[in-house]
């Protein structure tokens, strides 16, 4: 692929535990209006539209039916991927590289507050024969994975707790975040156990919100936008489909996707060439596991780096300056979108108190939650 693709407009609603004032259509519309306005385009001028969504999170059998109106995509080529925002963004990059499309809008949103039986939905995602029949809360898989990861890498539950402390602190200075707080490691470790060693505060809380971006081919991006953010590399990958066949200590999906994204972006030394990272932290240990899989920390050292502040706002490799899913709120397929939004703000120098000085290259990464082994990686830069 050789066509450069840039983000030329982005719209975010911000994130909060509930959003009773707007329907999902109105929520998405408000993000789309911002994104299109920033791109300087009417939706009629956008070539195609992509939504990342899952039916049971929406309470519809075929949610694709309900995507066009609030995207301005009526009677236009629009489609759904049952995938997270960063994967959907990758599909948009592919579409532009076919040469048939110049501009693409990508959307994901969460109305998790409308799902009254979220645990049931999660359990419904488990293999119906081998896992669901155990009748355990789906979170038990995270407990199993966390224990194996800590056991094999030597990272500790205390270091996981320091991820939570850092991310919720970052969220305090992010106006879009819903879960900013001043906590201590002790608070996390003494919160009630979900599935040991996983504690209640190790897990990100469900949130609502919507993100829309406009992607453009290079020529369009340069003519329309003063501060395009370039997507220099992207990929997604799945590990073994069956949970019980995976090496639970290592996020292979993230490692495989990163290899491809780095190659595309021409990155050979990720921890030197990347200025900041927004990685999936749906559970605290996942941030550590992902840093190791992405090559941003050596195996077994991610906990130490966190504990010693290397991943804090002032550290060598700031991680989840937004506050991550733990600090902002977990928005399912939109989580990757929240991370893309943070990276765009950082690369445009608009991140306010969270701004990392001189940042030119950021990594965004997402994972689709239990029981999946699917995730995606993208490298964003303000230098073409």
């Amino acid at each position: 692929m050789n066509e450069r693709v840039a983000i030329i407009g982005i719209g975010s609603t911000g994130f909060s535990p509930v959003s009773p004032d707007l329907s999902f259509k109105e929520l998405t519309y408000s993000a789309a209006v911002k994104a299109y306005d920033e791109a300087g385009l009417h939706p009629k001028e956008i070539d195609s539209f992509i939504t990342g969504s899952e039916d049971f999170m929406e309470g519809y059998s075929i949610f694709d039916e309900y995507i066009p109106d609030q995207m301005g995509a009526v009677l236009r080529p629009a489609h759904t991927v049952c995938a997270d925002f960063i994967q959907a963004m990758g599909v948009g990059c592919m579409m532009i590289n076919t040469g048939e499309f110049r501009t693409i809008a990508v959307e994901a949103h969460s109305k998790a507050s409308n799902v009254k039986t979220l645990d049931e939905v999660k359990a419904f995602g488990l293999d119906p024969v081998y896992l669901r029949t155990l009748k355990e809360n789906a979170e038990f898989l995270a407990g199993l994975e966390m224990r194996r990861f800590l056991e094999e890498t030597g990272n500790s539950v205390e270091q996981c707790a320091s991820v939570v402390v850092k991310n919720r602190k970052n969220a305090l200075i992010n106006p879009e975040a819903g879960h900013g707080a001043v906590l201590t490691e002790f608070d996390v470790l003494s919160s009630h156990p979900v599935s040991t060693p996983l504690k209640h505060l190790d897990a990100a809380a469900p949130s609502d919100g919507a993100i829309v971006i406009v992607l453009a081919a290079e020529e369009v991006a340069r003519s329309l936008c003063d501060n395009p953010v370039w997507i220099k590399g992207f990929s997604w990958c799945s590990a073994e489909g069956n949970f019980w066949s995976r090496d639970l200590s290592f996020a292979k999906y993230a490692s495989l996707a990163a290899k491809k994204a780095y190659a595309m972006a021409g990155i050979s030394q990720p921890s030197k060439e990347i200025d900041f990272a927004e990685v999936c932290d749906e559970y605290s240990y996942k941030e550590l596991q992902h840093l190791e899989a992405l090559g941003l920390a050596r195996r077994g050292e991610s906990g130490y780096l966190t504990e010693t502040g290397a991943t804090s706002l002032e550290g060598e490799m700031p991680v989840n300056t937004s506050g991550g899913s733990i600090g902002v709120g977990h928005t399912f397929e939109a989580s990757g979108g929240m991370k893309v939004n943070e990276a765009v703000q950082q690369l445009r120098g608009l991140a306010g108190k969270r701004q990392i000085k001189g940042a030119t290259t950021g990594l965004v990464q997402s994972w689709r939650g239990v029981p999946t082994g699917t995730g995606s990686v993208a490298i964003l830069s303000n230098e073409s």
Binding site: S19, P20, D21, L22, S23, F24, K25, E26, L27, Y29, V33, Y36, H42, P43, K44, F56, G59, P68, D69, Q70, G72, V74, K111, S113, N114, V115, K116, T117, E120, V121, A123, F124, P128, V129, R132, T133
Partner: protein, 169 residues
Amino acid sequence: MTIIKVPVKGLSSKEYERSLKVTWQPELQYAWDNGIAIGKYLEALKDGKILGSRCEKCHRIMLPARSFCELCWRPVDEYLPVKDTGIVNTFSICHVNWDASRLKPREPRHLPAVIEIEGASAGMGIMHLLGNVKPKDIYIGMKVKAKWKPRKDREGTITDILYFEPVRK
């Protein structure tokens, strides 16, 4: 490569009965936020009115009420009630329930229809049921009027309209 032999075995009813099965009945519950436009639409139903919204750019009066015009890509300019009468655009006489179970011979048939509501722009219809009419007497182009629940029983749902019935001159 001509496809001649294909894999996969279909189970007969008997084989299926005998096979081991894992069953699961998910308890899925949702409470969807109505938001601005549908919130107003439901309020209006409770008040015995059908609410539309108007866009000054394309001059459409749209149903059901929406907060933005999806074609002009701008907020609507006004919410306004339309009439509670309309014209049958198309209809069916349905002998099965939503779960594919069959109605008993004496049970009344379901009578779904698309009804173009008067006062809204041409072609703006909603799906609802017909009632107080013999199935054989229904025709496309028939004028109908909403039969509302008594005011005290209305809850702010689409079923506050029991059905649409023919306007008899």
